[in-house]
């Protein structure tokens, strides 16, 4: 079959991208999703706090998804569920499979990749010990409890202070379990401050920073874990080890963009983000293939994921329009900046404003976010505190950025006294 725009992934990025392509004039949009319903991870995120940027309301995950799903239903966008992509190539031909159509051979004019991300597991962080039942990633636990209605344990230990882990700590308490504590190997929390407040502080769950699990014990089911304090090189400190009896271990140790399909194309990936390198319109290294959301870089707010999807959808609708493909402007991560998306900016773009999204490496107080074009400081904004879990962004007119070949984002300590 032939389509104009094919969107892979029906989570928040894919939903927004499909809608935006449709609104910007693409006639034949096909949205394919591996799961049995649209919304991606949102249906299992039953807590509130979604949509504060886009809708100015505190919605639950299912409500946020529903807003987009209802919009999709009003359009002529074709949706295929339980559809899995097997192959993809640089000519935008996609082979997919589902129980109703069997094998699908799809030729698209433009492609939008919105596959999201997945969780790091126990295996990826190499926790020694037994391999009993009772070890789950936070997202899997969330699905069991909130979608399948299955409770997982009575006494819980949580490894990692990522947002999903914090949210599940509260959820376990409310479902009647005991949460012994959250153990974080880093000296700073991994999740958003608001989740530390309303998930841990509200329920008096202890957070042990610079601590990790050094052993898991249990024959059939988890019987307990050994925890220990770590030094500045994240090595366990001798003599600090303590045994914590528990029946369940929840692992919340980060998310990885899911890019097997991007590698198959193949697209150029950024080793810092783990996602495709994109320009200011979310176009990847292959013309006509766009990417948006957590497949590009892991976000902390769904609102930002939707916004990226919107940009990608609009760009797919304007595919072929003039923008200079040669000599893009390079965007660099300077002092205390881990990465910046987009990684390149094309000159003469139809996007009048470019939003630079970035994360800092370290917590810093009384700092300034600065953007340099060439050597010139074109933007400066004071921040009281910057933290790695909280993504920052700056919007700048492309006319200002176009003057140079290199744009650099830096976060540096203020010399003057803080006001």
């Amino acid at each position: 079959m032939n389509v104009d725009t094919l969107v892979i992934g029906g989570g928040p990025a894919g939903l927004a991208a499909a809608l935006s392509a449709n609104k910007n004039g693409v006639k034949n949009v096909l949205l394919i999703e591996r799961g049995s319903e649209l919304g991606g991870i949102l249906p299992q995120c039953i807590h509130d706090g979604f949509g504060t940027v886009i809708f100015k309301e505190r919605l639950t995950g299912p409500e946020y998804a529903e807003r987009y799903i209802q919009e999709i239903k009003k359009t002529g966008i074709n949706v295929k569920l339980e559809t899995m992509v097997l192959e993809i190539d640089r000519n935008k031909r996609v082979i997919a499979v589902n129980p109703t159509d069997g094998l699908l051979d799809i030729q698209a004019k433009t492609l939008i990749l919105a596959m999201g991300c997945r969780e790091r597991t126990r295996q990826q962080i190499l926790i020694p010990g037994d391999r009993p039942a009772g070890i789950f990633t936070a997202g899997v636990a969330q699905r069991y409890i909130n979608i399948e209605g299955i409770m997982l344990g009575k006494k819980i230990v949580i490894l990692g202070s990522g947002d999903v882990g914090l949210i599940m700590a509260r959820r376990f308490i409310l479902e009647g379990a005991e949460v012994e504590g959250v153990y974080e190997i880093m000296p700073v929390p991994g999740g958003l401050t608001r989740n530390l407040v309303q998930c841990l502080q509200d329920y008096e769950i202890p957070l042990h920073l610079s601590h990790t699990i050094v052993n898991i014990k249990g024959k059939n089911r988890v019987e307990g874990v050994a925890v220990a304090q770590v030094d500045s090189d994240m090595r366990p400190i001798g003599g600090t080890e303590r045994f914590v009896p528990c029946d369940t271990v929840i692992v919340s140790v980060g998310l990885i963009p899911e890019n097997e399909l991007s590698e198959m194309v193949p697209l150029k990936l950024d080793s810092m983000t783990g996602g495709p390198i994109v320009d200011e319109t979310m176009e990847t290294s292959t013309a006509g293939i766009y990417a948006a959301g957590n497949v590009v870089h892991v976000h902390d707010l769904v609102d930002d994921v939707s916004t990226e999807g919107e940009i990608a959808g609009k760009a797919a609708a304007r595919f072929g329009e003039l923008k200079e493909r040669e000599n893009p402007i390079k965007v660099e991560a300077g002092e205390n900046v881990r990465y910046v998306v987009p990684q390149i900016i094309r000159k003469k773009s139809f996007e009048q404003n470019v939003k630079l999204s970035f994360r800092v490496k370290e917590v810093q107080r009384n700092t300034s976010v600065k953007v340099f074009a060439g050597g010139e400081n074109i933007y400066s904004m004071k921040e009281r505190v910057v933290r790695p879990p909280e993504m920052l962004s700056v919007s700048l007119p492309s006319s200002v950025l176009e003057k140079t070949q290199v744009v650099k984002v830096v976060v540096e300590k203020d010399n003057e006294k803080s006001s």
Partner: protein, 126 residues
């Protein structure tokens, strides 16, 4: 007596660190809030902290066995646990429309608990 209370706003990701100065149980000043939401949040946390309640209830005949629900408005923080226990006894029958009332007037707060999503029935009703 003068006291300082520290709050971290949960209104948005800026997570403003707000100080509320109290004198003999009376609020005298709020500093550090980046916007109106933060100022109101700090005052609310000082006087009567509230949270939106979210949980799930059992579903009969649904495509899924549980339904996510939420309180229409924030309720007192101290009532959250008891509210979740009350919801544990609730069973609803699919199909369910998003926004429909699942539990009326939770613990006399005057706040209803509503369905967070649409949930279809597993099979057609006879």
């Amino acid at each position: 007596m003068r006291k300082v209370h520290k709050f971290t706003c949960i209104g948005c990701p800026s997570s403003c660190e707000i100080k509320l100065f109290e004198n003999d149980g009376q609020k005298i000043e709020v500093v550090g809030a980046g916007c109106k939401i933060g100022k109101e949040y700090a005052i609310k946390e000082f006087t009567a902290p509230e949270r939106i309640l979210t949980s799930t209830v059992r579903v009969e005949n649904g495509v899924l066995p549980v339904l996510p629900v939420k309180s229409e408005k924030p309720i007192p923080k101290k009532l959250i646990r008891e509210s979740v226990q009350a919801l544990a006894k609730v069973k609803v029958r699919a199909p369910i429309k998003q926004g429909s009332i699942v539990y009326e007037n939770m613990l006399n707060t005057g706040v209803n608990v509503i369905a967070s999503r649409n949930l279809e029935a597993r099979d057609l009703e006879r």
